[in-house]
């Protein structure tokens, strides 16, 4: 794209090119502007909470960081649990649809999974609280009695089943469709020649997937997982409806006192909050922002090291 240096062949600048590339830059800049606006809004609104004196914050917290600590813990803990369920299962389901299922079934299955991405979070919440939690409660009681050698199953068991484990399952079910859909698209894009080559060398189907499909798809899988994780971290209504929260740092999976997530806490307390309480909720939103960013940055780093399979590098 050099235009001035003499002696070189200069590329012709076409009007269409200029218009098109400018419009893409403008679109990118709009994102910049939106984010700047959101950031200014958040910082201005949350400032009173960060500098608030002891005694004015909710939960009798001495300062903002003590207030937000259990919420950060709960957010990461719930999302991590959800990802433990969701990542392997979504890869499995995507592989099933792209490489295992008979084609007629695969078409229908792909469609059904797409649809499930559309179930509103409120519905997941209602299902989780009214169907899943009561169904799991006896199972939790059983685990608590018979598997209490496992440290996370200890503690006084919840009678309603509205624990962080239930929330993690609901979150996993919520993020599965979007993760599966993206993974499946990526798997379907595997270069045909790679797959054929692997099979021609006598690989079994699994060996073909391991040597041809998965390496090609790894950045995409990370990307899909990040989309799912972003949703799990920021999920509001489903967590608010299902979880039985308390202000605690607790890894226990089956008790009624569970650490609350940031987004769930905002949904629960927003309606009755005013003054510093409202500011601290928005400030916790800012913290969620930062948490999500850190997680994403880590993912970007992982993907960045594996660029060699991208078509457009």
């Amino acid at each position: 794209m050099t235009t001035e240096s003499a002696g070189r062949i200069t590329a012709k600048i076409r009007r269409g090119d200029r218009v098109f590339s400018t419009s893409t830059v403008i679109a990118g800049s709009i994102i910049l502007a939106i984010l700047a606006a959101v950031a200014i809004f958040l910082v201005v609104q949350s400032f009173p909470a960060v500098v608030a004196k002891s005694g004015t914050l909710p939960n009798a917290a001495p300062n903002f960081w003590v207030y937000v600590g259990p919420l950060i813990f709960g957010t990461i803990w719930a999302a991590a649990l959800a990802m433990i369920f969701a990542v392997p299962i979504s890869i499995g389901v995507a592989l099933f649809i792209s490489h295992y299922a008979p084609r007629r079934i695969a078409q229908v299955l792909g469609y059904i999974i797409d649809l499930l991405a559309a179930v509103p979070s409120v519905v997941f919440g209602l299902w989780g609280a009214n169907v899943l939690a009561p169904a799991l409660a006896p199972f939790y009681a059983w685990l608590n009695t018979n598997a209490s050698w496992f440290p996370l199953f200890q503690g006084s068991v919840s009678a309603t089943g509205r624990t962080i484990l239930t929330v993690a399952i609901v979150l996993a079910v919520m993020v599965l469709p979007i993760m599966t859909a993206v993974n499946r698209e990526i798997f379907l894009q595997t270069p045909r020649l790679h797959e054929e080559a692997a099979l021609a060398l006598g690989a079994t189907r699994w060996e073909m997937i391991r040597t041809a499909v998965l390496p090609f798809a790894r950045p995409g899988i990370v990307s899909a997982s990040m989309l799912g994780l972003g949703r799990a971290l920021g999920e509001t209504m489903a967590v608010a409806i299902v979880l039985s929260p308390a202000v605690v740092y607790s890894f226990l999976l089956l008790t009624p006192q569970n650490p609350e997530t940031i987004a769930g806490n905002i949904a629960l307390q927003f309606s009755e909050a005013s003054g510093v309480g409202l500011s601290s909720l928005i400030a916790s939103g800012l913290v969620l922002f930062v948490v999500t960013f850190i997680v994403n940055a880590i993912a970007r780093y992982v993907v960045g090291r594996r660029k060699e399979f991208s078509g457009a590098n």
């Binding site: 893409t24 559309a118 519905v123 299902w127 060996e207």
Partner: protein, 362 residues
Amino acid sequence: MATELAARPIVNSLTTGRLPRGSAWMLLVGCWILLGLVFLLVQLAGGTTSFNIVGTVFCGTILFDILIYVLSRLVEGARRAKDRLVTSLVTTAFIIVLLPLVSLLYTVVANGLGRMIEPSFFTESMRNILGEDGGVVHALIGTLEITAAAAIISIPIGLLTSIYLVEYGRGTLARVITFLVDVMTGIPSIVAGLFAFALFALITGNPGYRSGISGSVALAVLMIPIVVRSSEEMLKLVPNELREASYALGVPKWLTILKIVIPTSIAGITTGITLAIARVIGETAPLIVAAGFTTSVNYDLFNNPMMTLPAFAYQQYSQQGAIQSDYINRAWATALTLILIVMILNLVARLVARFFSPKLGR
């Protein structure tokens, strides 16, 4: 299937080293029946009050995974056994996913269908309705208008940004935008709602300004990063050979992008956009804050509050009146309606993809 064709040895007496065809499926069904009997005995013994179908399917599938590995290992050797194990695990993952999803869909359909097929549901709003009548016309219009406006805002921005990132973006600006898109995926939905509300209060000078368009902006803030992320991923997968071939023929870059890159990845991009719409169409919290509540029909995107389907479902559930079943029925029927809308949306997206994607020789 290709892989079977390729992996299947020549059919002769050498099949001694293989499990018989169809044995896997028979084994799976066998495991289910076995576990079904176990749970039936537990039920008869009074251990549970009803037959545990979820437990049967779940435990049966796990048992199958173990058995098929052991059997295959004994008969077919380690490599085939591993292949069998992965096949069965992948199938298991699928069955595990189906259990909650089927339960969820069943719950919604069983609770919502009866109310949804009543004529009043799609001909009435909730204005002046106190009894069991009433419908979702107002919420349906609100959801369609708000989501359409959000899509109109975010699809061009998102798509162009992803094109910038993949095709043009070099240096600082591209890195900054990538970074910001990542940050944007972390905006909690209710914060997006509060932001849109504050923004429009500032623009209009009316501190209580609540309307459809502020809901759309809130949704667009949530939707843009999803569109960028998924489109970027799809554009990256377009082989460079296609671009280079196009340049070699003297096609300008912008036409290469429009005619080669986008059509090649259109299927994936449409999926991404559909998923993004599906993701925001069910948002509740930001719409309650930004678009408000009403019981009446409002077509005007720029004035007065607009009801949306998820907000309506949540309100009907959380604000039940004396006869609770009226409200709960409406809530489930609304949820079902929302799912059906997205189903129609998916069909349209498929049609779009079918029209625009090139017919490859695959």
